[in-house]
Amino acid sequence: MNEQNMDGRDVVITGIGMVSALGVGAQQNWDNFSSGAAPVFDSEKFSPYTVHPLPEIDWAEQISRRDQRQMEAWQRIGTYTAGLALDDAGLKDSLEFTSTMDMIVAAAGGERDVDVDTMILAEASKGETDTSIIVNEKLTTELRPTLFLAQLSNLLAGNISIVHKVTGSSRTFMGEEGAGISAVRTAAARIRSGQSTHALVGASFNAEHPDMLLGYEIEHHLKRDGWTSVWQREDSDGGGLITGSGGTFLVLESRSHAEARGARIYATLESVEADQGKSDQTATAERLSGISSATKLANASYIISAASGAKQRTEIEKEFLNSSLKAVPVRGVASAVGHMREVQFPFAIALAALSLHHEKPIEQMDSRFEVAISQKPERVGVLSLGYEDAEGAAFLTPANGGKA
């Protein structure tokens, strides 16, 4: 069934929620990306590391104050963004649709309580007490009981169920960029095969937390010398990652489901492919060739790349693009908003859909690697290499599937 292109079961994108350093909502993000707005970043707050910060958000637009208190930042970002996507799809508060809507969220874990951890580390530094006993005592007395739920991976999805009443199903995928790739791929494959009719899929990430930076710096992944575009990080001090806060949620539907309810269709998600394997250049390039031919990236008007900037992986990607997809222009969108981990792939998909919808390409962010595009995009490819593991590719066509 999956190999056939059954029109009614085409996967279409009908709702987009986005938050990034470049704005709140699909429209603001699109306006900035299509007009070549300068990247927004902060190199002071977590110096020597640069982060792309969250824009100002009025959470109450999507989440009651009572519910806000139950969430750490990444859950708030995600729940807020999911609300934007449902609003955008015209499905907000439409219980008939949300109660049967499937959901796949890509998530890691939440932020720790820095004050409590600091207390424990300070006590341990005195060297007077067994560190395990300090942990027991401080955590037992100082931790906010409900913090655990605000940190738990699947509770972003849980909060979306509670706040937005999405209850058809709820699955949380974990594993950095690969989780975002698998989430979109699985949601689309389920719709294409008739296992689902409509789904909410996405992720969120809060970069502005020392614990999140620490996770990357353990293996020296973070760039330490300010901002450059993702394509110009091979000589950076430290690693090549500049992280960013944000989120993306997409409403995917079968074409027949979307048409039956008269939904506005942004674009058709023709195919999504994923792979993972040995990390050397030859094996990686082979896999990239595989997912790239399976999704027909060579036929794209241009490719939106979710390149992380990680030195080794981004060099492999550049080499692949230069050798195998030379004729296809590319845009590395993390230059503008940072590496948003699980959000990378859904974010690039959202921009691809918006680009087809608005019949305009994303503006160049780095003229040394990205060439100008003069024609309106007819087909947009998406490519994502995780900073260490996982590769994903997708191919999108206009709302009508490119058929006149």
Binding site: T140, P145, L149, F173, M174, G175, L214, G215, I218
Partner: protein, 427 residues
């Protein structure tokens, strides 16, 4: 409808190999012998000091890795052992499995021993800098590759992929205490879509740390009946007071019946149906009318194309918390009728505790063994039945029974409900 497709024309999914590790032991034989003898794996915690803790017992697995290796290492090792046992039983290469991996694993986090080490290293660099700035400074000054499995959520699946030779991008997932069942469901769906001929679904959890225990304790989810550890987990009993954290892993090799038959594999059972439904009521409590749990059970029965009276035994979620057991019995009663229409139900957790992320997979393995051995494992510690829960809990001793089909339930924090229907292999 061929012999390889179900009533809906979808490929039938066969189980061709299973593996398990729990606090009762390593491997199917050890586990099944003890599970049917009513042996408890719950004991006093020795992995870390118990000072200041309200709960001091758990079903930790202490025979696989050294405590100082930490939870990421144990989580991997448990998964690997279960996976190898399952793949081996399926008669497939344990280094070139060739199908996709669906892994239910606990969220990772830098472990306290890592933070203390970074804190000490940072203190030597610049004693004046405190807290996370110091940790970041220590991380920046030298690489710590041995910590990476604790900060990368994809690490366990990546390592398993390299070990067993799975194909494609593995899916790691978490639906809290329903994760193991969700991994199986996600694998079944991929097989039905024809994306792969075989898949391995693994649920693993080696995350009993002081912090994890304290977190559940602060939510009042754990039993505090520390004095007699083996008697603390008492699902469906009147004096049940919380679950017991535990560790383990379960693994199932799933194949389309057609592919399994073609390669001459022994069919152990059929994964007939999977169902899920999310709850929007509360972060830790279920909707008072039980409707999401009911919907999940009904979805699984519907997916399997069977009616409640075709279920011979229910492998309960049965955590031994006041809330879960009440809600589970109430939901099942609305489907199966008074006293569940005589359908026996027992909780493996009375013996192995709540293996959290792994539970759905481990209990699916035990459900299959129940069918294959014709023996219902008991609910132990059932000495003071809760009169409000009218069930045949297979009290305290195993029972012989002809079991053709099992319903296995998994419910989790965050409104997660996932159910599986597992059936006997076709004649």
């Amino acid at each position: 409808m061929s012999k390889f497709t179900d009533k809906n024309g979808r490929p039938i999914i066969a189980i061709t190999g299973v593996g398990v590790v729990s606090s009762l032991g390593r491997g199917k034989k050890d586990n099944w012998d003890k599970l049917t003898s009513g042996v408890s794996g719950i004991h006093k915690i020795t992995r870390f000091p118990q000072d200041h803790l309200r709960t001091t017992i758990a079903g930790t697995v202490d025979f696989m890795t050294a405590p100082e290796e930490g939870s990421a290492a144990l989580t991997y090792t448990l998964a690997e052992a279960a996976a190898i046992e399952a793949i081996d039983e399926a008669g497939i290469s344990t280094s070139d499995f060739g199908g996709q991996l669906f892994l239910a694993a606990p969220p990772v986090e830098l472990e306290w021993q890592h933070r203390f080490q970074l804190n000490a290293e940072g203190a030597e660099l610049t004693p004046s800098v405190q807290s996370y700035d110091r940790l970041l400074l220590a991380a920046k000054s030298s690489k710590h590759p041995s910590f990476s499995a604790s900060v990368k959520f994809a690490a366990t699946a990546r390592r398993l992929q390299d070990r067993i030779g799975s194909r494609g991008l593995p899916v790691t997932l978490s639906t809290a205490c329903a994760s193991g069942a969700t991994a199986i469901q996600t694998g079944v769906e991929a097989l039905r879509r024809g994306e792969t001929d075989r898949a391995i679904a693994i649920g693993t959890d080696g995350s009993v740390t002081a912090e994890a225990l304290i977190r559940f304790s602060l939510l009042s989810a754990l039993s505090t009946q520390n004095d007699e550890p083996e008697k603390a987990s008492k699902p469906f009993s009147k004096d049940r007071d919380g679950f017991i954290m535990a560790e383990g892993a379960g693994a199932l090799v799933l194949e389309t019946l057609e592919a399994a038959t073609a390669r001459g594999a022994k069919i152990l059972g059929i994964m007939e149906g999977c169902g899920e439904c999310a709850d929007d009521f509360h972060r830790t409590r279920s909707k008072p009318d039980g409707s999401p749990a009911i919907a999940a059970v009904l979805a699984a029965l519907d997916d399997a194309g069977v009616t409640p009276d075709e279920i011979d035994y229910i492998n309960a979620h049965g955590t031994s918390t006041p809330e879960n057991d009440k809600m589970e019995c109430m939901s099942l009663t609305s489907i199966f009728g008074h006293r569940l229409g005589g359908t026996p139900i027992s909780s493996n957790k009375s013996m192995i505790g709540h293996t959290l992320t792994a539970a759905g997979a481990i209990e699916a393995v035990f459900s299959l063994l129940t069918i294959r051995n014709g023996v219902l494992p008991p609910t132990i510690n059932y000495l003071n039945p809760d009169p409000a829960l009218e069930v045949d809990a297979v009290p305290n001793e195993k029972r012989d029974a002809d079991v053709k089909r099992v319903l296995s339930n998994s419910f989790g924090f965050g409104g997660q409900n996932a159910c599986l229907v597992i059936g006997r292999e076709p004649a």
